[in-house]
């Protein structure tokens, strides 16, 4: 019995020690605690120690990262990967729907984002509605199932949207009618203007306040021992009540300065906070007001002119907002751009003169704060999740490429292995195709023959 116990214990110990990893000789960009040449010790998926000289625990796996750069995993505060659908566009308030229900852990975009150094992403509903669906924060744990890719414990969020996108379905179109002014007004959805967008949000929160009061009244009377019938649940208003109570984060898609200011004032009036303004391409025009409200801003590095509301977008947006005291991040909103957020951050060194640490903060600690997960990720600090990226050159350089990506202390991407496995994968693919080709006609024949046979 004792020997079995010891053997078991030994087994446990060996697993535990196998989970201890030391990354040595790297240039460690901690983001929050400076940059050093040294090592990071990882145990049980967490960062145990960071230092110029560390003691290598016995049995630890050692990764020599000589000449390479280690930084925290990139956090993308705005993505639409890994979801089967994005926009519930049939109504202007779609807060009852959520990404959690349409998550696809097998989307190849997850792997590609991972290979680009992204370890955490905020998966958002689309921007067809003034108040959109619920978002979900994931980790790019490629190979895990739906539950396995969720960022456990991350605060829930919701998407809002202002401007051209939510009003699009409310704009009468003269296209195709062939007559000037003969607008097609069928199938229009309110709102059709920025005024209407404000109204939709105010209406929704007015309803949500009443709904909240109804429930508070019910809870109070129930607590007093009264026999009361519970109010009818409203799945559209529940998430809005969570916003009012600070339990759900608002991520609001916006472009123009006027609509940004409008939303901040609506939030002020109803007593809630906008956690982040997304895209916020004219944020530089109202940076003072954004900072005063305490909203974060998550923007593009240099996208512009793809639509009218993006015509005043400037690549200096991030830098101006940083200089005016706004908590800024850079996001991708795009499965392709998502793979090179490091050089997107690099552009802010050129456009607006941010320091290298400020630039890297835009894709690490700042988005972590914007998603309320900075206690877990976003910097290389003792106690945080071992979500790390190893680059061959400084990550802000055009020439840098990702070598390894680790999430919770497990290597999920290794470039050398990915490259060396390719021939084998090609061979396997060919074999499967051949097999399928051989199987197909046989199956068909068998099925048809079976159907003809009398019972």
């Amino acid at each position: 019995m004792k020997s079995i116990f010891l053997a078991l214990l030994a087994g446990v110990l060996s697993i535990a020690s196998a989970q201890t990893i030391v990354i040595q000789n790297a240039t460690v960009l901690t983001i929050t605690k400076g940059t050093l040449k040294g090592s990071v010790v990882i145990k049980d998926g967490k960062i145990l120690e960071v230092g110029e000289k560390v003691l290598v625990p016995p049995g630890a796996q050692v990764i020599d990262a000589g000449g390479q750069y280690l930084m925290p995993g990139i956090i993308d505060a705005h993505s639409h990967i890994a979801a089967d659908s994005i926009n519930e566009g049939s109504m202007s308030v779609s807060s009852m729907v959520g990404i959690e229900d349409v998550l696809d852990p097998e989307a190849i975009a997850i792997f590609r984002a991972l290979a680009g150094g992204v370890t955490t992403a905020n998966i958002l509903h689309g921007s067809a509605n003034a108040i959109g669906g619920k978002c979900l924060v994931i980790k790019t744990r490629w190979g895990k199932d739906t539950e396995g890719i969720k960022f456990e414990g991350a605060k829930p969020g919701i998407k809002f949207a202002l401007g051209e996108n939510p009003k699009r379905q409310g704009m009468a179109t003269t296209q195709g009618t062939g007559r000037r002014g003969a607008a097609d007004t069928s199938n229009l959805r309110y709102p059709g203007t920025r005024m209407g967008v404000e109204d939709v949000i105010r209406q929704a929160f007015t309803e949500a306040k009443q709904y909240q009061a109804t429930w508070k009244d019910y809870e109070a009377r129930k607590a007093k021992g009264e026999t009361v019938i519970p109010p009818k649940r409203d799945l559209k208003l529940e998430p809005l009540v969570e916003i009012l109570e600070g339990k759900r984060l608002v991520h609001a898609h916006c472009y123009r300065a006027d609509e940004i200011l409008m939303l901040l004032r609506v939030a002020d009036d109803f007593g809630f906070k906008i956690k982040t303004l997304q895209h916020v391409l004219e944020g530089y025009k109202v940076a003072k007001e954004i900072a005063a409200h305490g909203a974060g801003a998550s923007t593009f590095s240099d996208w512009w002119a793809y639509k009218v509301e993006a015509y005043d977008a400037i690549p200096y947006n991030a830098a101006v907002m940083v200089k005016k005291g706004v908590l800024v991040s850079l996001n991708s909103d795009d499965a392709e751009l998502m793979r090179r957020l490091n050089t997107e951050a690099g552009k802010t060194v050129k456009y607006g003169g941010l320091t290298e640490t400020e630039a890297l903060s835009l894709i690490t600690i700042n988005p972590a704060k914007q998603l309320d997960i900075d206690n877990r990720v976003g910097s290389i600090e003792v106690g945080k999740d071992a979500d790390l990226v190893l680059y061959d050159k400084h990550p802000l350089s055009t020439f840098a490429k990702v070598q390894k990506v680790m999430i919770d202390g497990t290597v999920y991407f290794d470039r050398d292995k990915d490259v060396s496995d390719r021939d084998q994968k090609q061979l396997r693919k060919k074999q499967l195709i051949e097999k399928e080709k051989q199987n197909q006609p046989q199956q068909k024949k068998g099925f048809a023959g079976g159907a003809r046979r009398p019972a």
Binding site: I108, R112, D302, A305, Y306, K323, E336, L337, K350, K401
Partner: protein, 422 residues
């Protein structure tokens, strides 16, 4: 450093309004066609490169630009843009990219380039001195113009009017033959096949008409009437102007090359993504290619994640001549990073630099006047504070035909205005 920049700025002010002659001294010069020269002096006289070396005696009274700590490159060329043709891509009224019809070789992109487009200074400020402006739509879309990113009118911007005839080669939709091994035919495959064959036939007929027109014209046949569209095809038939053919995948590239052989026309293949085994043939036939953004997703789900990053090196190793094109207004300014990304994935640095300077100049038939810092060429010059292909590098000064041009744009104006907001 700051002092130096101030000095530079001050000297820039003093230069304004003078002629197109100057000397940059003490800079690191990358001529591209030769090794870099450190501590170099670069003499420009009347807009042309007059001398490059470490010992250049400046003519008396010439304006001198202090280049210590700075790098000098030839201006970059983006081989595929809509610059000046489209302002806000989602607003139809602001776009003049695609005309109606399948065959319109007579159309000239250059004449629809809006020299006051806000895009042009934005593109220019990142070191891009020339752009190929391409029309789109149909099968033969029209003539692409090679334009400088500076000029009061499109005429002043023009380097070469019909630098290429743009053609969108008919293809089968992916998933039918064009995809992996032709296995699992896509729904609607027969429709795609029919459309493809019809368009190939249309193209064959059109080329036939152009040849008959050419013969009729040469023979001064009775009743010969000028046809502007067919007339525009003559330089193509005479191999004076290349057809810039867009083709992404192996099957389409193979088709295009075979077609060009049959029609005896000169071609440049634009936008290749998965050339497969066609590269050796492109090399053998001296067909250059224009590479689309290295920042692109793989075409198929199971393609290597770095497919687009490694393609330029693959093309280089095959010995095929190549240049980069952004194929998008919005990202034209990012062409240095498109080239730089390929360097991270194996492309030799010098080759990346050539692919945005001398290679496109040669491909578009102006290799004797732009694309490198060589005696006698136009002084299309970019002065930076670091590596041209590096994302953090700033462009400090630019010259087009030896004339100093603004590196300010709508973006810098808005930046300064709102940074100063109280």
């Amino acid at each position: 450093m700051r002092f130096l920049l101030t000095l530079l700025f001050a000297s820039g002010l003093a230069l304004a309004g003078t002629n197109d002659s100057f000397l940059i001294r003490g800079a690191t010069v990358f001529p591209v066609t030769g090794p870099k020269v450190e501590g170099a002096s670069l003499l420009v006289i009347d807009g042309k490169i007059a001398e490059l070396g470490t010992k250049v005696t400046p003519p008396k009274g010439i304006k001198i630009i202090e280049g210590k700590g700075l790098s000098v490159y030839p201006g970059m060329i983006d081989s595929a843009t809509e610059a000046g043709l489209s302002e806000i891509s989602s607003v139809r009224e602001t776009s003049d990219v695609s005309e109606l019809g399948d065959f319109k070789p007579q159309l000239r992109a250059a004449v629809a380039v809006n020299p006051a487009s806000e895009h042009i200074p934005v593109i220019r400020a990142n070191g891009i001195t020339s752009v190929m402006v391409m029309p789109g739509g149909g099968i033969i879309a029209g003539q692409a113009g090679l334009m400088h990113t500076d000029g009061w009118t499109w005429e002043e911007m023009l380097i070469r009017r019909g630098a290429a005839m743009v053609m969108l080669f008919p293809t089968l939709t992916p998933g039918f033959g064009g995809g992996a091994g032709g296995f699992g035919r896509a729904v609607g495959g027969t429709d795609a096949r029919r459309t493809y064959e019809r368009r190939i036939r249309l193209l064959k007929d059109y080329m036939e008409s152009a040849r008959r027109y050419q013969k009729a014209k040469a023979a001064a046949a009775a009743g010969f009437k000028t046809d502007l569209a067919l007339e525009a095809m003559l330089p193509v038939l005479d191999r004076k102007v290349p057809l810039m053919i867009t083709a992404q995948r192996e099957a389409a590239i193979k088709d295009a090359v075979k077609w060009a052989d049959q029609e005896r026309v000169r071609i440049v293949i634009a936008g290749i993504r998965k050339p497969g085994a066609t590269l050796a043939d492109l090399k053998a036939k001296n067909i250059p290619v224009i590479l689309p953004p290295t920042q692109a997703l793989p075409l198929e789900e199971d393609d290597p994640y770095d497919q687009a990053f490694t393609l330029p090196n693959e093309v280089y190793k095959a010995g095929v001549k190549f240049a980069f094109g952004t194929f998008a207004n919005q990202f034209s300014r990012n062409i240095p990073y498109q080239a730089g990304t390929a360097v991270g994935y194996g492309l030799p640095y010098e080759e990346a630099l050539k692919a945005v300077t001398i290679n496109p100049a040669e491909i578009w038939g102006v290799g004797d006047s732009i694309g490198s810092i060589e005696k006698g060429k136009w002084a299309d010059i970019v002065v930076t504070n670091g590596d041209l292909l590096e994302v953090r590098t700033e462009v400090k000064k630019m010259f087009v035909k030896g004339k100093e041009v603004d590196v300010e744009s709508k973006h810098t104006r808005l930046y300064k205005k709102y940074l100063a907001r109280p």
